[in-house]
């Protein structure tokens, strides 16, 4: 087992009456892409800001690289890169100057800094816009600049807070690929998002959060194994008689059947060839149907089953 990069024990954070983090625990290992997944307001940003000592907290112990993290732990901060939820660049400085400025807050040596800035610009692929002012950049390019500003100093630990919000698909892919590349180059990544697809795509381990609590942690596959659903079959079909619905319910591994708006949903908790079996039954009943597809469980299903609500509002 590799070393812990971040450990959080019993973290409690209150905003006046609101308990934003409630005895929260976390352990992130070196080399992980750790995903914090949770609906809006679940406390992802608060967790990050507490770990970074930007926020004071009421209780708990936070360690980074094995040392306690304090507001003036500049040695630790030197190895951390942060890409915040809000774009944090200066409108008055060019793309190059913005990156150079923030990189210069970490790197003293001029030659090294110059090289790092150039590499960051290449990394997010904005060479063409080097001399642009941020106002002239599209939303996606701005996000890429924001990322470059956060990672130019080659940190060992990188926090990314919803870096793909309001980003076009091309930039989004560029960003996600970039994160994986950073990880391959040796950085440990903490990634927050409420897009489960993204988290599933890149994260090596995922924590699902709700109301300031850790609901569950594991790889995407592990999380999905925690719930009984293994497959959901959707069939578009007109005027399905109740008698047939009852017969479908009798099929093996079916634990739930829904029929609304001419869409039949059959929920399975195991079994093979489920699709063939249900279609076979419909054929015997002499019923014709439209579109048919099978869905594997998503993280949303995991969240739904554990908390009883949807991940996205």
């Amino acid at each position: 087992m590799s070393a812990s990069v971040i450990t959080v024990e019993n973290l409690v954070k209150r905003y006046k009456e609101l308990i934003a983090l409630d005895h929260f625990n976390l352990d992130i290992k070196e080399g992980e892409i750790f995903g914090l997944l949770g609906p809006n307001g679940s406390g992802k940003t608060t967790t990050m800001n507490c770990i970074l000592s930007l926020l004071k907290y009421d209780k708990g112990v936070i360690k980074i690289f094995g040392q306690e993290m304090k507001p003036d732990s500049y040695e630790i901060k030197r190895n951390i890169g942060v890409v915040m939820q809000n774009v944090a660049v200066f409108d008055e400085l060019t793309v190059y100057d913005n990156i150079d400025y923030f990189c210069g807050l970490y790197i003293k040596d001029k030659a090294t800094r110059k090289q790092y800035v150039e590499e960051a610009i290449q990394f997010v692929d904005i060479e063409k816009f080097k001399d642009f002012y941020p106002k002239k950049l599209s939303g996606g390019l701005l996000r890429r600049l924001n990322i470059a500003c956060g990672i130019a100093h080659k940190p060992k630990l990188i926090f990314l807070d919803e870096p793909t919000v309001a980003v076009d698909p091309q930039s989004r892919n560029n960003i996600l690929e970039g994160i994986v590349k950073l990880n391959q180059a040796g950085a440990t990544i903490v990634y927050t998002s409420h897009y489960m697809e993204e988290v599933e795509q890149i994260c090596t381990r995922i924590m699902i959060m709700d109301k300031g609590k850790n609901i569950t942690t594991g790889t995407a596959a592990e999380l999905k194994k925690m719930i009984k659903n293994t497959e959901t079959i959707h069939i578009e079909i007109l005027n399905l008689p109740d008698s047939v619905i009852a017969k479908i319910k009798e099929l093996t591994h079916v634990y739930k059947v829904e029929y609304t708006d001419n869409l039949l949903k059959v929920f399975y908790n195991g079994g093979k060839h489920n699709l063939i079996k249900v279609l076979d039954l419909l054929q015997k009943e002499d019923l014709s149907f439209g579109r048919v597809y099978s869905e594997l469980p998503t993280l949303n299903d995991v969240f739904l089953e554990i908390t009883g609500k949807e991940l996205r509002d």
């Binding site: 800001n49 926020l55 003036d72 500049y74 809000n86």
Partner: protein, 384 residues
Amino acid sequence: MFLHVYKYRLKTIFRSRVDLFWILLFPLLLGTCFYTAFHNITKSLEEFNTIPVAIVCEDDADLTFFKAYIDALSSEENNILSATYTTSDEAQSLLSDKKITGIITFKDSIPSLTFLNTDSTNTSVSQSILKELMDSYIQSLDILSNVEPEDTESLMAVIANLGQNADYIIERKLTDGNTDYMLDYYFSLIAMTCLFGSYSGHSCANFLKANLSAQGMRKCLSSTKRLTLILGDFFASCTFPVISNIILIIYLNYILKINLGGNVLLIILTAAIGSIIGVCIGLFIGAIPGIKDSLKNGIMTASSLFLSFLSGLMVGGIKYKIEKVVPIVNKLNPATVITDALYSLNIYDTHDQFFTCIAILAVTIVILCTLSYLMIRRESYASI
């Protein structure tokens, strides 16, 4: 690190339109407006011509003192009167030929005036100047009666004083009293520019505090020491208004050729210290959490203009009225202290008064800096 922080903060300010306008452009524009407004006044002063008069002595009264006064007024330095001593008849004919503005008749040690038109509502500027010059002579007779005739030194002092008074009379008459405060307008303008430094102080606070801006958050997270960040940003924020003031002062002094009086370097020093006060005010207001940016800007614009107003930006001489009623306001208002410092450079030979003002400004800076530092130094917040 400090230089890196300083350089980029300065770059940011120089690219900021708001700062450029209020701190650099606006004062230059206002200075130009003042200049055009006062230009006619200064011109009429330059175009002033000597007033020709005839002097008639009716008896054998002692003329020494009166003559000395007239000589002083006619001297090359003052050049106010050109006097001809003559007889009554000759004087009358000169007056009817309009060769002279009036006749001064010296009788019983008292001068009296005769003009061509007897209608007193229609006196010319020259006539009323003559009247005041004679009045001021008559008023000084009181003082003279206490002076021994042999004490020539005292006599000459009174004369010199009268001569100086004459200059004021002329200036006031020719400009309806406007020039009295003319320099005060420019001094208040410099004070206003100093206070507008609060704009760069405001953005300085904004970009330093993590709970005020995302940029501030990034700075807080970086591995640069907090003090380095604060000092770099602060000094850069001061540099810009100081430069603006230097440009303004050079513009007024060397391009518009307004004689600000005093040593230009000391004027610049005053403006530099004043600018730091402005930045500190902005820093302090900017660091207050929970108030909207636009409101903070409003507060700063309003207070800068109001304080400059109290120091004489719009109504000349207002600070003298305040001095009579609530003098403490003048000591607390940095704009007035700045104008006082500039004024004292202009009129006093010693620098005591000037350094008193500078000391007051320095104390203000220390207080404001301490308060702002306490509000800005934090890296960890209860709420973001």
